[in-house]
């Protein structure tokens, strides 16, 4: 699980690097701020908080996932192909930056969604959601070259709050059910 959070931190780091390069490319100042925010919030704060929650919850390794590892890898490869196929008409007429990033961002969103489906622990699903958000962020940055700063800050704050709330929920779930395995939590019906 620590490995998972570290990979997410690495992904956020790369995202911040892309934003910084984009800022240099377009020359707009506020994207540097966005890059810095990504680095701090998603690269440092959120991973630290996730590791802190995991220590409190005494979470061990991910238990047996619903889809095995080789199959998950092959499906992720297939999702990349699907993302490429979907964005192909859009890409062919766009600039270099957009062309490179759009298919990748859609692939990251799809893989994050797949991770939420195929894994059982609530923490892993949270990381999957954060990955989807990363992918969307990449897509936004590469097509619009940065939104107004206030929107960016709003999104970051939103994500931070979501993670804090999910952390608290995870603790409560663990206390009540003695486990974070979401396949056991099917009795919450209407």
């Amino acid at each position: 699980m620590g490995q998972l959070v570290r990979s997410f931190a690495f992904q956020s780091l790369m995202l911040a690097a892309i934003a910084a390069v984009l800022a240099h490319y377009t020359g707009s100042e506020h994207i540097y701020v966005v890059a810095g925010l990504t680095l701090v919030v998603k690269g440092l704060v959120i991973p630290r908080f996730l590791i802190y929650s995991m220590d409190r919850l005494k979470v061990r390794r991910e238990i047996e996932p619903l889809v095995g590892i080789p199959a998950s890898l092959l499906i992720s490869g297939g999702l990349v192909i699907v993302a490429y196929y979907i964005t192909e008409p859009l890409i062919s007429s766009a600039e270099t930056v957009t062309r490179n990033c759009l298919a990748v961002s859609l692939a990251v969103v799809l893989i994050g969604l797949f991770m939420m489906i195929s894994r059982r622990k609530a923490m892993t699903q949270m990381v999957g959601l954060l990955m989807m958000e990363n992918g969307l962020f990449l897509g936004i940055i590469s097509t619009t070259y940065g939104m107004p700063l206030i929107v960016e800050i709003g999104i970051f704050f939103d994500v931070l709050m979501a993670v804090l709330i999910m952390g608290i929920f995870a603790y409560r779930i663990n206390q009540t059910f003695e486990t974070l395995d979401t396949t056991f939590m099917r009795r919450l019906r209407g």
Partner: protein, 660 residues
């Protein structure tokens, strides 16, 4: 000599042989009937060389026929395939003679009929002639396979017959449709029919032909007859079936698909063909790994090679559909070269496996082992065959697989980006197949010839006479020759396939290197020379340190005495890959505790069965449904005369009314 002399000789000699087999009483004289087939093979080979030198030969006969004139035709492509097939025939005939299985009248008769039908099918130009030859081929191989072993049930034979006839029905329907819609009855006269019958109909025709011929080649899901038949018939029959029959099927398929019908703009069709062929090859390599009978391993190996050939052919169709003629020609050439190589090494392997079975008296891999010390000559020859089928340099399998990979690596001509991905996926599938198949061949060779013998039969094999190895030697030599210096063959092949795909003469060979559009070539002669050079360097380095003596002791055993049961078994060798691909195999494992032989020792029984999903989930329900339907219809046959007379009267009245 007159142009008709060689072909008539080629076709009439087996007939003579068949007659001799029936008429002559003594066993020695049956030798003459086998010699007739060998002579006919020689005639076929000479005729092919003549055609290669002088051009297409075509013979029309004046025999009375229902529709058009019966004709046979040999073009350079057919000549190349016929040449290799004829050489294989000669070797198999020698093998049948020299093997000490009794040469019975029945086997000699069927052998000659089989040879005749294959030769006829390869050169037939008239649709009807082709179908007759194809039917004869199926029937004679069925009869030849039936009753080869005393302890058999004949289900394997009947399955074969049923599936082949289903395939033949598809082929007849497709060819008849083509003949009727074009008005032509000779295959060489039908050209570019896709313009005439439209893309939908031509796609349907090509699929029917693929499935129909594929039933003989082992295309999924028509493959279930192969392993049983190969393990139950004599190696003579299987050697011919695997090589010659497949050659005919692929040859006619290529001709009709590319020349008669044409595949312009048929993208979906090509992708379907590639997909089906890839699945066939994958399934075959997975199954080859877990078989206990060497003949079954070789059956699946044939299926896998045919899958790879059809995959490359599908890629050629794809290239042609996008209008890239030269890559299509290269791909087709690679596929047909692999077909030729497959003929040589598969015949070698099947005859070798038959020899092992006779010498050791065992067919089960779990009971063989250590034969390399008792049968060194056979082990060397079989090693050449194994290295060829595993596609390792410097043998022929390597050159043709290299060519197939190279053909698939060329993705630029395909405009549609999504379709372009099909090629790297095909490469990945092909690589996985060849890797798993290599494990299967390793297992076959290593556990038959190396290690400790696992039974009394393997421990003391009947020593082979020199004559038993003779038929295998020419094939082994061909494996090496085709691997090292196949340039004239490749040039001829490239020239022969270019017109089929509309390419203007593809130049494949430059100097001693096989080149494809300056995108990297292979010099098989140079490579083999380098390998030899490397071994020489190794040898010299080692000799420089002086001679040493070799001492023989027991295998290192870590303190426990080893015997025949403490070595790896075939099941164990395949076990890691079985576990990796568990979802594919779904092995059914049963572990039972047995009564204790003593106070301190437990006895456990472990049974592992690998189910055949196609039989269980496709064929059994189908046959059950068919039988249920037949039971219902059976009620019509009540046995009473009145009922039958009523049927006759009703039919008569209906017909008279309708034809009024």
């Amino acid at each position: 000599m007159s142009p008709a002399a060689l072909p008539s000789l080629m076709l009439s000699l087996p007939l003579l042989g068949a007659v001799l087999a029936v008429l002559l009483r003594s066993e020695r004289s049956r030798v003459y009937s086998y010699l007739c087939s060998a002579a006919s093979a020689v005639a076929a080979a000479i005729w092919s060389v003549q055609v290669l030198l002088e051009g297409t030969a075509s013979l029309v006969s004046d025999a009375p026929s229902v529709w058009g004139e019966y004709a046979i035709r040999l073009d350079p492509l057919g000549a190349l395939v016929l040449l290799i097939t004829a050489l294989t025939f000669a070797c198999v005939a020698m093998y049948a003679l020299f093997s000490r299985e009794g040469v019975t009248a029945r086997s000699a008769l069927l052998f000659n009929c089989f040879v005749l039908s294959i030769l006829l099918a390869m050169v037939a130009d008239h649709v009807l002639l082709l179908m007759i030859a194809w039917e004869a081929m199926s029937l004679t191989s069925f009869l030849g396979a039936w009753g080869a072993r005393e302890d058999e049930d004949t289900i394997a034979g009947w399955r074969y017959l049923a599936i082949t006839h289903f395939g033949a029905a598809l082929v007849i329907a497709a060819l008849a449709y083509l003949a009727v819609s074009s008005g032509e009855v000779r295959l060489s006269e039908m050209r570019g029919l896709s313009a005439l019958i439209g893309p939908g109909a031509s796609a349907a025709v090509v699929i029917m032909l693929f499935l129909g011929f594929g039933s003989k080649l082992g295309l999924l899901p028509f493959h279930i007859w192969m392993p049983d038949l190969y393990s139950r018939s004599s190696s003579t029959v299987t050697a011919l079936l695997s090589t010659a029959a497949s050659n005919v099927a692929v040859l006619v398929l290529v001709r009709v698909t590319f020349s008669c019908v044409g595949v312009e703009e048929q993208y979906a069709l090509s992708l379907t063909v590639m997909g089906l062929a890839a699945l066939t090859a994958l399934w075959a390599s997975w199954q080859a790994l877990v078989q206990r009978d060497g003949a079954r391993v070789l059956a699946f190996s044939s299926m896998e090679n045919m899958g790879l050939i059809l995959l490359t052919m599908g890629a050629a169709m794809l290239f042609r559909a996008y209008g890239a003629a030269e890559p299509a020609a290269f791909a087709l050439m690679a596929a047909l070269f692999h077909l030729i190589n497959h003929t040589v090494f598969k015949a070698l392997l099947l005859m070798g496996a038959g020899t092992v079975r006779r010498a050791a008296g065992e067919w089960d891999l779990e009971r063989l082992g250590g034969l390399a010390r008792g049968l060194p000559g056979l082990s060397a020859v079989f090693l050449i065959g194994t290295l060829s089928v595993a596609a390792l340099p410097p043998f022929n399998g390597f050159v043709s697989e290299w060519a197939m990979f190279k053909a698939l690596m060329h993705a630029e001509p395909i405009a549609d980006p999504l379709v372009r991905i099909a090629l790297p996926l095909a490469i990945a599938v092909m690589a996985l197949c060849t890797a798993i198949a290599a494990t299967a061949y390793l297992r076959l060779y290593g556990l038959t010839f190396l290690g400790r013998p696992r039974s009394a039969g393997a421990e003391r094999p009947r020593p082979l006479e020199r004559s038993e190895l003779f038929p295998l030697l020419p094939l082994a030599l061909l494996c090496i020759l085709l691997g090292v210096a196949s340039f004239p063959l490749l040039e001829e092949l490239a020239a022969a396939v270019s017109p089929l795909v509309g390419a203007a003469g593809l130049k494949v060979v430059e100097g001693s290197s096989i080149n494809f559009l300056h995108q990297g070539g292979l010099d098989p002669l140079g490579l083999s020379a380098l390998l030899g050079f490397g071994m020489l360097v190794a040898f010299l380095i080692v000799r420089a340190t002086g001679r040493r003596k070799v001492e023989r002791v027991d295998t290192w055993d870590c303190g426990t005495p080893l015997d025949r049961r403490t070595q790896y078994t075939p099941t164990g060798f395949a076990q890691p890959l079985l576990r990796v691909f568990q979802k594919v195999y779904r092995p059914q494992i049963e572990v039972r505790e047995e009564p204790r032989p003593s106070e301190y020792i437990r006895a456990v029984r472990f049974e592992q069965r690998i189910p055949e999903p196609f039989v269980d989930h496709l064929y059994k329900p189908l046959t059950a449904g068919a039988i249920a339907l037949a039971m219902r219809v059976k009620r019509m046959q009540s046995g009473s005369i009145q009922a039958y007379l009523t049927y006759i009267m009703v039919t008569l009245v209906v017909l008279l009314v309708a034809l009024r």
